[in-house]
């Protein structure tokens, strides 16, 4: 019965649409290429004419707007390409001279090659974001395994291996840190966002090393059962990568960083190993939840965040979803990451005990370039799409700025790193959205 109703409604919709097409001038073609049927419809609107007279000068301005919309439906990939061109013809007549000037503005920026962009987004999500979600979870899993091995055989060599694994995990985090949205930033932000539990500094630029030390010391001095201490209930600024770094890279009593002192502390106080493993397992729990959200089930929708995002179903599936597009989410997240690097003192506050800040930032630079430069069999890279949209220079500028960022990390000062990050922040605010004809919004930039 429901199917029948749906069919009737669908047929009605098609009928209404047909009427609509005939009203505004339409044509359609069907072609078959590589076994894929492609239907193309073109509509040309009736001109919308608007005129105004300046009350002070008497100058008459008349605009005529014609909208041409071309929609292509492919039945195999179910991709849709909508190309909309707006031609505005403006006629200005000066009553005193009778002079008339005519200008035509074709809003060609709206030609977005939507299916190409959609495919590029899918490639970005799969090859860059989801793969880094999975890689980060794998690295955390390895860190958890390594902590267990170390605690079973507490040697300086094993400590070094565990420390190295922490650095690898931290680097993996900095490959994911530019993509804070979705499962990394839970929809109900009244609860603490997931990423705070991984990287407490990212919250507001507060260095919580002192908080972690105090809490660790307190836990070491306590005689309570570790298993009874619920690490999932600890505050976000007491756990995460920072808690593991403090545990692994210094002796709690005096912050000595020699391998011998740290190892001996683990040998002499088995409780520290229990705490180390508890921190590690809590990080693994958090990271696995994020991975599940991206890959399997987001917010009990029964669908992965990846699927909801790429099929543009987030707004329909969730009650409290902002409704912006995938490309908007990715672009804004990248922009916020580089804004964060510019505004916070990452080089002097983050990964200081492990001395691993710069390699983490290099990991971020690498993933940024990869995001923009990766193509696949079915999709072009973002750089190529930018060039196709006549923004090749912008693509070059961004690539150059990424290289400048890398150079600053390797040889520059802290201020030069910030400055390079600020340039990339600007690129993700302006050049990239402009080149892809992506609107990030109008109101958020105003400050009014």
């Amino acid at each position: 019965m429901l199917k029948a109703i749906s069919l009737i409604q669908s047929m009605t919709l098609i009928f209404l649409f047909s009427v609509l097409l005939s009203a505004c001038g339409a044509s359609s073609t069907t072609t078959v290429t590589n076994n894929e049927t492609v239907e193309t419809s073109t509509t040309v609107s009736q001109p919308v004419v608007e005129s105004s007279t300046d009350p002070d000068t008497g100058i008459i301005t008349q605009t005529s707007t014609v909208i041409t919309t071309q929609t292509t439906l492919g039945d195999i990939t179910a991709t849709i390409t909508v190309i909309t061109t707006t031609d505005i013809t403006t006629t200005i007549t000066d009553p005193t001279t009778g002079e008339t000037t005519v200008t035509t503005d074709s809003d060609s920026n709206t030609i977005t090659h939507a299916s190409e962009l959609d495919r590029a987004i899918e490639t970005m999500v799969d090859t860059t974001i989801v793969s880094n979600v999975n890689n980060f979870q794998t690295q955390v899993q390895s860190l958890d395994n390594q902590t267990s091995s170390f605690c079973a055989n507490t040697t300086q060599a094993n400590l070094t291996q565990t420390q190295n694994q922490w650095i690898s995990t931290h680097n993996a985090w900095y490959q994911l840190a530019p993509f804070i949205f979705g499962p990394l930033e839970v929809a109900n932000v009244i609860t603490v966002p997931a990423f705070w539990y991984l990287d407490s500094y990212r919250n507001n630029g507060n260095d919580y090393t002192g908080t972690v030390r105090t809490n660790l010391t307190s836990l070491l001095e306590s005689d309570g059962e570790i298993s009874e201490i619920d690490f999932s209930n600890l505050n976000y600024n007491q756990v995460g990568l920072l808690a593991l770094e403090v545990s692994l890279f210094e002796r709690s009593t005096d912050q000595s960083q020699t391998l011998e002192d740290i190892t001996n502390e683990f040998i002499n106080a088995s409780r520290k190993c229990e705490l180390l493993m508890a921190y590690s397992q809590e990080l693994l729990r958090q990271t696995t939840l994020i991975q599940l959200g991206w890959n399997d089930n987001y917010h009990d929708t029964g669908k992965s965040y990846r699927e909801l995002l790429l099929s543009n179903q987030l707004e329909a599936a969730l009650d409290n979803e902002s409704g912006d597009s995938a490309i908007s989410k990715i672009t804004v997240a990248m922009q916020e990451f580089y804004d964060y690097l510019n505004k916070r003192d990452v080089t002097t506050d983050v990964a200081q005990l492990s001395n691993a800040t710069k390699q983490a930032l290099l990991a971020s630079a690498t993933i940024t370039e990869s995001l923009l430069n990766t193509s696949s069999e079915s999709s072009l890279s973002i750089y190529t799409l930018m060039a196709k949209n006549d923004h090749e220079q912008d693509a070059t500028t961004i690539s150059t700025n990424i290289q400048t960022f890398v150079t600053a990390i390797n040889t520059g000062t802290d201020e030069e790193i910030k400055s390079a990050a600020a340039a990339l922040d600007g690129n993700f605010k302006r050049e990239l959205p402009d080149a892809l004809n992506v609107s990030l919004g109008l109101n958020f930039t105003d400050g009014d």
């Binding site: 749906s6 409604q9 669908s10 009605t12 919709l13 098609i14 209404l16 649409f17 609509l20 505004c24 509509t43 609107s45 919308v48 608007e50 005129s51 105004s52 007279t53 009350p55 605009t63 707007t65 919309t69 929609t71 439906l73 179910a78 849709i80 909508v82 505005i88 403006t90 503005d105 929809a187 932000v189 009244i190 609860t191 603490v192 966002p193 705070w196 919250n203 507001n204 630029g205 507060n206 329909a316 009650d319 409290n320 979803e321 902002s322 409704g323 912006d324 908007s328 609107s439 990030l440 919004g441 109008l442 109101n443 958020f444 105003d446 400050g447 009014d448």
Partner: protein
């Protein structure tokens, strides 16, 4: 007079896109034919907003929610605030975004621009104005282009000629409204010193002082003024409840601060008391990114709603308990109004979308979503009832 009307229905492009997804989204087709809600809006209700992203598009746009259509009156400037003449209710004024100098008077029934008016020399507009209760005068927030001192100009509405001017008793007056007595004006003096020749650059971060000023509209005398503790918080938007409670929305000048401390962006001022700031959990506060862009009070439900386009969020506090009641995520939301029947908060964003939040449950009515592709609703939304 001049006709700048153009009309765009939701249906043409909406149907086109719907056909494109046909077969992929049957529920969407169901939703399209569930038209029962169309009757829930009054025929004379309109939602107005400055509209457009670039020159050539800028306009005063309005939505007829019952018909799901939009109209617009093209303007050659980007508008900001709007106000309706309470007596000649077809008459709406849209002010230029600061530091513009122009406003247009639009007949929303006919679509005609009836009049435009400029600032006096060496004055620039600050984006908002308000009509007197008798509709005879319009009070406009302006600034001295040389000294940057805040000004409130008074124009008669039969010809929109300026007849008076007095100080706003502060720098950077922005939104203003009449108190329930119809005489006292409450003005958000943002405290940010800008000049037209340097556009929106702020020149007084170290000394900025933002106030909520109460002024006698008949003589310009300062009745009293209030400030918030956070010195870099700029009070910029406000709304007044029937009992005189004022809700204020602020933006924080983070670049002028030497710390990362979170600052409340919302507040309530009750007569005879200090301003009380509204609190929210830290994750929400951070997400707002130092910017609330609009505020509206639903008098019936004693709820103050705020929007933050940088936080992609609308937030709702109780006016009396000051308790945070709900929040709703919506990309680049800033436009905020209340439906004519007072049952919904209406939200708009720059992607042309409209959402409605039930004022009693503070949950979104998803079936009331509207989408007008190609429209870009600017910072403020105004609900008006046209004469029957």
């Amino acid at each position: 007079m001049n006709t700048l009307l153009s009309q765009q229905g939701l249906s043409r492009r909406g149907f086109f896109k719907s056909l494109a997804v046909l077969g992929l989204s049957v529920p969407a087709a169901h939703a399209m034919f569930d038209l029962k809600w169309l009757t829930e809006h009054h025929e004379n209700e309109r939602w107005l907003s400055a509209q457009g992203r670039k020159q050539g598009q800028f306009s005063l746009g309005w939505i007829n929610p019952a018909q799901q259509t939009t109209n617009q009156a093209l303007a050659n400037f980007r508008g900001h605030g709007l106000c309706q003449n309470p007596v000649n209710r077809h008459q709406v004024v849209m002010l230029a975004r600061r530091p513009g100098t122009l406003a247009i008077v639009v007949n929303v029934e006919s679509g005609e621009i009836e009049k435009s008016f400029h600032c006096a020399p060496n004055r620039n507009m600050q984006g908002h104005a308000v009509f007197s209760n008798d509709g005879q005068f319009i009070f406009n927030a302006e600034a001295d282009s040389i000294t940057a001192e805040g000004k409130i100009t008074v124009r008669e509405t039969h010809n929109f000629k300026q007849v008076n001017e007095f100080s706003s008793h502060g720098i950077g007056p922005h939104e203003l409204a009449f108190m329930p007595d119809g005489i006292t004006l409450v003005i958000a003096n943002g405290g940010l010193l800008t000049r037209p020749n340097t556009s929106r650059t702020v020149h007084n971060y170290p000394t900025m002082r933002s106030t909520l000023a109460y002024i006698n509209s008949q003589n310009g005398q300062l009745v009293n003024e209030h400030t918030v503790a956070a010195s870099k918080a700029s009070i910029r938007h406000l709304d007044v409840a029937a009992d005189g409670t004022v809700a204020i929305a602020m933006q924080v000048q983070r670049d002028a601060m030497d710390n990362n401390q979170l600052v409340s962006l919302a507040g309530v001022h009750k007569p005879g008391k200090d301003i009380q700031t509204l609190s929210a959990p830290e994750p929400l506060m951070i997400k707002l990114n130092d910017y609330m862009g609009s505020v509206k009070i639903n008098h019936q439900h004693r709820v103050a709603a705020f929007t933050s386009p940088r936080g992609d969020m609308a937030m709702f506090w109780h006016l009396d308990t000051l308790e945070l009641l709900a929040h709703h995520e919506f990309h680049d939301v800033c436009g905020l109004s209340i439906s004519q029947d007072k049952k919904h908060f209406v939200l708009s964003n720059s992607a042309g979308k409209i959402r409605q939040i039930d004022a009693s449950t503070l949950k979104e009515n998803k079936h009331k979503r509207l989408n007008f592709p190609g429209k870009h609703w600017d910072n403020h939304l105004l609900t008006v009832s046209l004469p029957s």
